[in-house]
Amino acid sequence: MELMEETLTRLESHKTQEVMILMEHVNKWYHDFHVLKDIDLTVMAGERIVICGPSGSGKSTLIRCINRLEAHQRGRIVVDGIELTEDVKAIDAIRREVGMVFQHFNLFPHLTVLENCTLAPIWVKKMPKKEAEALALQYLQRVRIADQAHKYPGQLSGGQQQRVAIARALCMKPKIMLFDEPTSALDPEMVKEVLDTMIELAAEGMTMLCVTHEMGFARTVADRVIFMDRGEIVEQAPPEEFFLHPKEERTRRFLGQILHH
């Protein structure tokens, strides 16, 4: 609970009036299991959103629908003005705008750190190799790991790997970054280095959706915290309101569980 008393320096908001992601009545089923129930969500450019909720609540599925790692079955998703349909061209265009960081990093083990970062710029954006390498080094510098550029992922610690994964996504110069529990698979002492990198990214005005239970991060960074349970958005509010005056009983119970352990 010490987080609540601490006076955390809040990051200045970069939220604009431009709509970046629009979800209307989005529904999804796995066979007869209803994972997403009528989700309505609008994310503005520059907005930073933290999504939390018990496991199985559909929070990962929600952000995975945004870059079509999962297909929704009913409703509408529009990302940066492009509607997500079966149209392969539209899906490709959206994936180029959206970067993603996974719980288990998912770095390519057969490629060096540098090659992990240059792969998509070279093959997807058709960028010259020299240029892609310069770009990759620049982002690796930013996540403070440029000195490991020629090592393989297996030679790095978890925290280092996750920072490389962030740099790899940034190399595609995305407009939106999705984080799917980026610190859940890390040893406790490595959580901070990854969160610091994400906070820096937030400070630069990146539109971010982050599934996480790091409530300190939510308080520092989020414009809005969303609580999901059983496939529904139960409550959403700015962090101070969300943590101090949650309206719903389910939210209070969940916060009680994760903040009092």
């Binding site: 083990p109 792969l119 393989y152 297996g154």
Partner: protein, 384 residues
């Protein structure tokens, strides 16, 4: 004394000395026994017999052979026949195995089902039975030469084998060969140039199509200018049999078919498990980065699958090579049937022939392992 008895170092040393002593005694006994038996039967040991004339005919010889040639030449012929069937089998089994293995993971349910059916059928029937099936049930049941099955007027299948046209070098042979050589070299240079250009400018180049164009276009041009590289000698029915052309013996066809189909089923399973061993997260990361399905397979999945596939693939190649000795059962003149069979019977030099045959299989197997290990090391992942 007691302390020695319980000292682990001394105990280990004593155990080793005793083991070596036991093995030495056993080997000595075998050598003594063999020498004794050979002298009793009046068989001279040694490799001198290799210079004696063989005096029997051979069904299939890849090099010239007459009955007056030596046993040494028979040995080489058997070896070549084994290598021929092993090489053909490895090529066909690999191509088919990869196709079926990828087919087992296809989106299309029909392809998936057929691939599964193929694997379960061919994997679960003993290889000798499959050889018998192709030889006795299919190829021996073919009609006589006069009633041959004919394809395109140039291929004839009958009980004596598959007759195919034989290429004979003609005036265009050298120019076409040269053109092919030039095409190969320039395709290689082109792919290097295309890679450099892509690194420099990011522009991809359709290397695959350009290479295909070069490899087909240049020899074709040479053929048009200088004339045909080959004239084809067609098999022709004369009396009761065909003359001219090449004949693939039913023994060779049956053995190659059976070994390829049998081994391909195992390779398919190896390929499938290799592809499935690549974690789902790898593919998701590649999707999220915007790579196309083909790029995902080529850049992410296959390089990682290969390191799982190669070791069992090596075993399958070794199995196929060794299983080729089953050809003895249908009279295919491979090393075992010919040298460790017929030659052994004729000369009685059991120890020498068996030892030579074993040494050859060992050598072939070790060579395959060596190549595959080298390839495996190149594909291995760097960890820590």
């Amino acid at each position: 004394m007691r302390r020695w008895l319980y000292d682990p170092k001394i105990r280990a040393l004593a155990a080793q000395i005793l083991t070596i002593l036991a093995i030495g005694l056993f080997a000595g006994w075998i050598v003594h026994n063999t020498v004794h038996n050979l002298t009793v039967r009046g068989i001279a040991s040694g490799f001198g017999f290799l210079h004696n004339p063989a005096g029997f005919g051979i069904l299939q010889t890849l090099i010239d052979y007459r009955e007056t040639d030596t046993f040494a030449r028979v040995f080489v012929i058997g070896l070549l026949n084994t290598l021929l069937v092993a090489a053909l089998g490895i090529v066909f089994a690999t191509v088919l195995g990869f196709l079926v293995g990828i087919g087992r993971l296809a989106e299309n349910a029909l392809i998936r089902g057929l691939s599964a059916l193929y694997v379960e059928t061919f994997r679960n029937v003993p290889p000798l039975l499959q050889i018998f099936f192709w030889y006795f049930a299919v190829l021996r049941a073919m009609p006589s030469p006069r009633q041959s099955h004919e394809f395109l007027g140039a291929f004839f299948l009958n009980i004596r084998g598959l007759y195919v046209p034989r290429p004979i070098p003609a005036e265009g042979f050298v120019p076409t060969l040269l053109a092919l050589g030039i095409a190969l070299v320039s395709a290689f240079a082109l792919s290097r140039w295309a890679r450099r250009r892509q690194e420099r400018t990011g522009e991809p180049f359709p290397t695959g199509r350009a290479t295909l164009l070069l490899l087909i276009g240049l020899p074709l041009a040479a053929r048009l200018i200088f004339g045909a590289p080959f004239t084809w000698e067609l098999p022709q029915l004369q009396g009761f049999n065909f003359r001219g052309g090449w004949v693939l013996l039913p023994e060779l066809v049956a053995l190659t078919l059976a070994l390829s189909l049998y081994t391909a089923a195992f390779i398919a399973e190896t390929v499938r498990s290799g592809i499935q061993s690549v974690p789902r997260g790898q593919i998701e990361a590649a999707i999220a980065l915007g790579l196309t399905p083909r790029q995902r397979l080529r850049l992410i999945v296959l390089p990682q699958a290969m390191r799982v596939i190669i070791p069992p693939l090596t075993s399958q190649y070794l199995n196929l090579t060794k299983n080729s000795s089953l050809g003895a059962a249908i009279g295919y003149p491979d090393l075992v049937g010919l040298f460790a069979g017929t030659v052994l019977n004729q000369t009685g030099q059991a120890i020498e022939t068996i030892a030579m045959t074993m040494a050859v299989y060992l050598l072939i197997s070790l060579s395959i392992s060596l190549v595959m290990n080298w390839y495996n090391r190149r594909m291995a992942l760097v960890e820590r």
